[in-house]
């Protein structure tokens, strides 16, 4: 399957990043890689987009960061805090309702499209 249109993903990037962080602390590059593999290669978030997004989530107090100097180069780790976890739950529910709504709206069109075997 081709990668998603960035416009389509725009409103869901926060949700994707929060959901990747739900499994434990990550640094930027690791997060990017995990998002890539969790989406089976369909979602690639560019570094130039990822870091401002992480900083915004941090300033919104949805994630917290910690510096690690033990590996020879400074590494910034991010993890979900309580507010981030709540936001993720709420947004995930909203997103499901939204997806369901779109699915129903598009049913007449999608039903006519033959599914790949």
């Amino acid at each position: 399957m081709a990668k998603f249109n960035p416009e389509l993903m725009r409103g869901s990037l926060d949700l994707m990043v929060l959901s990747i962080l739900a499994s434990g602390p990550k640094y930027g590059y690791l997060l990017q890689q995990e998002l890539h593999s969790a989406s089976r290669g369909l979602v690639d978030i560019q570094a130039g987009t990822l870091y401002p997004l992480l900083h915004r989530l941090e300033s919104d107090k949805l994630i917290r960061c910690k510096w690690d100097n033990s590996t020879g180069r400074r590494r910034k780790w991010y993890e979900l805090n309580e507010a981030g976890r709540k936001r993720l739950t709420v947004q995930a529910r909203e997103w499901h309702e939204y997806a369901e709504c779109i699915r129903n709206l598009l049913a007449p069109v999608t039903d006519a499209i033959p599914r790949p075997a």
Binding site: G28, A47, Y51, R74
Partner: protein, 400 residues
């Protein structure tokens, strides 16, 4: 080992960032970690080192754009702290805009020198001349529009650890005036443009002028008005020459002087009991009969009421008068220039080692000092006028 290309990219990014130096370092460290991890990954996949470096950098995109994202984020965060407008603020702003619009066609005024000449020529001594000070530079209208904007109330606000640059930007946006922060001069004076400001005003609606003074003064900054712009600069550079037409005050003093000299009819109108910026107690009576402070005269600090002095009442204006029952410092002067230098920021005048000056030339007062001091002078002159206006009928009656 850090790659030269990465370091170049990061230093370029850093040059575009408008954040605190510590934040520059943190962003560079974080992105460097990513770039190096990416480089390792790509070379392990068989890409040549050069190609891997190029791809890693390409994935970050344009350094200026990325820096802009980071800077914008930080500013939005700061602004969120700043913009705590109350309903009252919005109402006050709307009302002031309405008033400004209603009187718009009447605002253009003649440039100063013309007004000053007209004053010299018009010998009638009738109504009080306009007291608005005007810059010697001839951008009169633009600057007066800025003066009017600076008088706008900006309501309650809360700055918490916001950089001085952002505070100034916020104020200028609220009054819809253009403000330039003279970064070169500020940093040359050893003042950091990232100096944090914390100021909360929750119950009083202050004018933009007062707020600017409050945030700039502690950092030894001030501002001038030039070509219709507010220019924030170190206080020592911010002196501006303004000419005040004080014909009304000088004339009323002359009239009173004659009367007092001849008949000893009592004190002249004098300063109300509170200088504009809460000066230390300093009574400044002009009246010949103002001998001792009366123990009962203990006006409120900074009180707005102008004490009126009818014949024989005497009394010392000013708030030092009756405090603690100790002897008051009473100075006497017939010179408006001296009065100003004695009461407003005394240390800022050349007589006290400062770099401000005040010269009285006939009916004009030529003052070189900071906008802060000019603001205080305007208040003081207005207070003197209010006081004079109250005393005038009595003086007229005596003459009649």
């Amino acid at each position: 080992m850090p790659e030269t290309e990465f370091e170049l990219y990061l230093s370029l990014l850093s040059r575009f960032l408008r954040l605190k130096p510590a934040q520059h370092g943190e962003i560079a460290d974080e992105l460097r970690d990513h770039l190096e991890a990416r480089l390792e990954e790509l070379t392990s996949q068989g890409l040549s080192r050069d190609a891997a470096i190029r791809q890693a950098l390409d994935e970050f995109g344009d350094a200026a754009e990325l820096a802009n994202h980071f800077t914008h984020l930080a500013h939005v965060r700061n602004r969120r702290l700043i913009m705590r407008f109350t309903f009252g603020t919005i109402t006050a702003l709307a009302a002031s805009l309405l008033i400004a619009t209603a009187f718009w066609p009447e605002t253009p005024q003649a440039p100063v020198p013309q007004r000053a000449l007209a004053q010299f020529g018009g010998g009638g001594g009738g109504g009080a001349p306009v007291s608005v000070p005007t810059s010697l530079a001839a951008e009169g209208d633009d600057n007066q529009a800025i003066e009017a904007k600076l008088n706008k109330k900006i309501g309650t606000f809360e700055y918490v650890e916001v950089t001085i640059v952002d505070v100034c930007t916020s104020i200028s946006e609220q009054i819809e005036a253009d403000l330039i922060f003279d970064r070169a001069a500020v940093s040359a004076s050893g003042i950091s443009e990232d100096s944090p400001v914390t100021l909360k005003i929750n119950h009083t609606s202050l004018s933009a002028r007062v707020v600017l003074d409050l945030v700039l003064e502690p950092l030894k900054l001030s501002y001038t008005i030039r070509d219709g712009l507010i220019v924030v600069t170190p206080a020592e550079n911010a002196n501006q020459i303004l000419v005040y037409n004080v014909r009304d005050l000088v004339q009323s003093q002359a009239e009173h002087g004659g009367a007092a000299g001849g008949m000893g009819t009592g004190p002249q109108p004098m300063m109300p009991g509170g200088s504009p910026a809460g000066m230390p107690g300093m009574a400044a009576p002009n009246g010949r009969a103002a001998g001792q402070p009366r123990s009962g005269f203990m006006g409120p600090m900074g009180g707005a009421a102008a004490p009126q002095n009818e014949g024989g009442m005497g009394g010392a204006g000013g708030m030092g008068g009756g405090f603690g029952g100790g002897p008051a410092v009473i100075r006497e002067t017939d010179s408006l220039a001296d009065l100003i230098a004695m009461t407003i920021d005394p240390a800022s005048w050349d007589s006290a080692g400062g770099n401000g000056s005040v010269v009285q030339y006939r009916e004009l007062l030529v003052v070189k000092n900071s906008q802060t001091v000019h603001g205080k002078i305007k208040v003081l002159l207005d207070m003197l006028r209010t006081s004079s206006a109250g005393g005038a009928p009595a003086a007229g009656a005596r003459r009649g």
